[in-house]
């Protein structure tokens, strides 16, 4: 399998209230062709920053890429000229965001917004009829119930699920090779979540896309991803195939996350008078501007030892193709 996207040692800093805050610290991920990679982590761990950084969408006012590179099929993206970068964005790598409602321009009809994306990345100017046909085809691709009506609607007239489908349609219209989905279902209710994820999976297979799925929900990655990278405090702490992560989590943070998921076998059965508390990881996610020394997880770690405190562990390949940033893993 070929590596279609490689992020190498990416470090990004933000300027917040006069202070410099490290958002990403030496992050490396690999996306293989035709694969769905899941990036899991809590809020604030840097997953959205990672997504934005890949397409150089962090504005100069907010922060900057300190070091590292992003390789798309061997081509380095962060040093591309503005022109070429605009072609990559959308045209070869697309990104969809968490809240579909705010991601759509409220004053334009949905059809117009899809048309804009379609015309932008084509070299030729499409005649109106052809454009309309393609828009309807796209809406059918994302399983929109009434494509013609939707095309003429404004974003606020559509439900959350439909808005997200529109976003997906816009993102896929230029035929990108990679789709980055930043928490695509977090803003939707559970039943719609399932539909949208199903749609994404189907589209991925049908169009041969490579997908980076960013989420904080382990349930989602279990169903849709082949590989998972777990993020904590600005870097990757574990990376492995989905089954490895679930059956053999090596990093204590991953284990903690998995254990804190409510499981059906253990759910409280009130008829038998048994109650069980949800397991949680003690402590709180560290403030990025004030990170602990050594391993960033050590203050909350159930198996912490003295050696964890002075120096941050490297990400090492503990088992084949299974990496963990913990000196006690394996």
């Amino acid at each position: 399998m070929e590596r279609i996207l490689e992020v190498r040692n990416l470090s990004v800093e933000f300027y917040k209230g006069g202070k410099i805050v490290p958002a990403l610290r030496n992050v490396s991920i690999t996306l293989n062709e035709n694969e769905v990679l899941g990036i899991v982590g809590e809020s604030g761990c840097g997953k959205s920053t990672l997504a934005l950084s890949i397409l150089k969408l962090i504005s100069e006012r907010e922060g900057k890429v300190v070091s590292g590179e992003v390789l798309f099929k061997g081509e380095e993206l962060l040093s591309l000229s503005k022109e070429k970068l605009l072609q990559v964005r959308g045209g070869r790598i697309s990104i969809i965001f968490q809240d579909p409602f705010t991601s759509l321009n409220p004053v334009f009809r949905v059809g117009t917004q899809i048309a804009e994306s379609l015309s932008l990345h084509r070299k030729e100017n499409l005649p109106a009829q052809q454009l309309e046909k393609e828009i309807i085809e796209l809406l059918q691709l994302v399983k929109m119930p009434k494509p013609k009506d939707t095309m003429l609607s404004y974003p606020h007239q559509l439900s959350g699920g439909m808005q997200q489908r529109v976003m997906i349609a816009i993102a896929l219209s230029p035929n990108p090779e990679i789709l980055i989905a930043d928490e695509p279902t977090t803003a939707l209710d559970v039943t719609i979540q399932k539909e949208i994820l199903g749609l994404l999976t189907e589209l991925q297979k049908k169009l041969g896309l490579s997908v980076v799925l960013i989420t904080h929900d382990f349930g989602i990655v279990a169903e849709t991803c082949q590989r998972i990278s777990v993020m904590y405090a600005g870097n990757i702490v574990e990376e492995a195939s989905t089954s490895e992560v679930f059956h053999n989590p090596l990093h204590p943070y991953t284990r903690g996350l998995l254990e804190s998921l409510p499981s059906r076998e253990e759910s409280p059965d009130f008829s038998q008078g048994e109650k069980r508390r949800l397991k949680a990881i003690s402590g709180q996610v560290p403030d990025p501007s004030n990170l602990p020394s050594g391993c960033k997880f050590h203050p909350r770690c159930p198996i912490v030892i003295e050696q964890c405190k002075p120096e941050e562990p490297r990400l090492r390949e503990v088992i084949r193709n299974h990496w963990a940033r913990c000196i006690r893993a394996g």
């Binding site: 959308g90 004053v107 334009f108």
Partner: protein
């Protein structure tokens, strides 16, 4: 989208009233030659300073010209000045405001300092100076009023742009590979239109007042071309013997500016971001 505005607009009585008046005035200005009973420049010295009568509905001025006709033609001047002056201010103000708000940083500082400096001048005196320096005619008046009006709009547009810029759809648009120019003018601009429209409408009222004042002082539209302001110039000299020469042009100015203010206030309500809620 516009249907929602229209519905709301119809419900707002004051705005409708204002709009109606403005519409009527526009029609009057357009068909002035048709409805004016007399040629506004036709002098009739024998019948100067006559009070309102059957023949001259609003009376005559100091050169025997029919006041009603002069006021009707004066409508053209006022509306033209209003639109052009504010038009100039909007174009400059919007472009600079968008650039300033979108890019921030050095460009923003530069533009804003320029705005601050311009706003320090007492506008009216600045205009007086410029016109006195140049030749007083309707075009100079329009341009100068426009050039003193843009700073306020720039600040307004910049503020709106700053808030719209942070909204996710702007990020999504960039993520799609849209150039900065497209993002600013096609995506952000329609979302900052509402306050611009309101400010513009209110601004027209202001521009009309300014033009009237300038013409009154002799530095605006020059006679014999009738402007409500320059009719008042004669009016003030004969006010004791010919009250109609001051009252009617004054009323015309009053009604027009009031209409624009009402429309502007009405638009402010109609275009409120409440639109999301509907």
């Amino acid at each position: 989208m516009w249907k929602i505005f229209w519905r709301r607009f119809r419900r707002n009585k004051l705005a409708l009233f204002g709009a109606l008046i403005i519409l009527s005035l526009t029609v009057v200005a357009a068909i002035a030659p048709v409805i004016a009973p007399f040629n506004p420049n036709e002098q009739d010295i024998l019948h100067r300073l006559e009070p309102p009568s059957g023949k001259h509905l609003l009376g005559t001025d100091d050169l025997g010209r029919d006041l009603l006709s002069r006021i009707i033609y004066g409508t053209r001047v006022s509306l033209l000045v209003g639109f052009v002056a504010v038009g100039i201010a909007i174009i400059i103000g919007t472009v600079l405001g968008l650039l300033s708000g979108y890019f921030g940083g050095g460009l923003d500082s530069l533009i804003m300092r320029f705005v601050d400096i311009t706003l320090c001048f007492p506008t009216f005196f600045l205009i007086l100076m410029v016109i006195a320096f140049l030749e007083p005619n309707i075009w100079n008046v329009m341009v100068v009023i426009g050039l003193t009006g843009w700073p306020g709009l720039t600040r307004l547009v910049r503020g709106e742009c700053l808030s719209v810029r942070e909204r996710e759809f702007v990020q999504a648009a960039k993520a799609l590979g849209l150039s900065n120019r497209r993002v600013m003018f096609i995506h952000i601009l329609p979302n900052v239109m509402a306050p611009i429209l309101v400010a513009a409408t209110l601004g027209i009222g202001g521009a009309i007042l300014t033009e009237s004042a300038l013409s009154f002082l002799g530095l605006g539209v020059q006679p014999p071309t009738p402007s409500w302001g320059n009719i008042l110039t004669a009016g003030k000299d004969y006010i004791t013997v010919a009250w109609w020469l001051s009252l009617y042009p004054g009323l015309a100015i009053l009604v027009t500016v009031l209409a624009y203010n009402l429309l502007g206030e009405g638009l402010r309500d109609v275009l409120d971001p409440r639109m999301m809620a509907e």
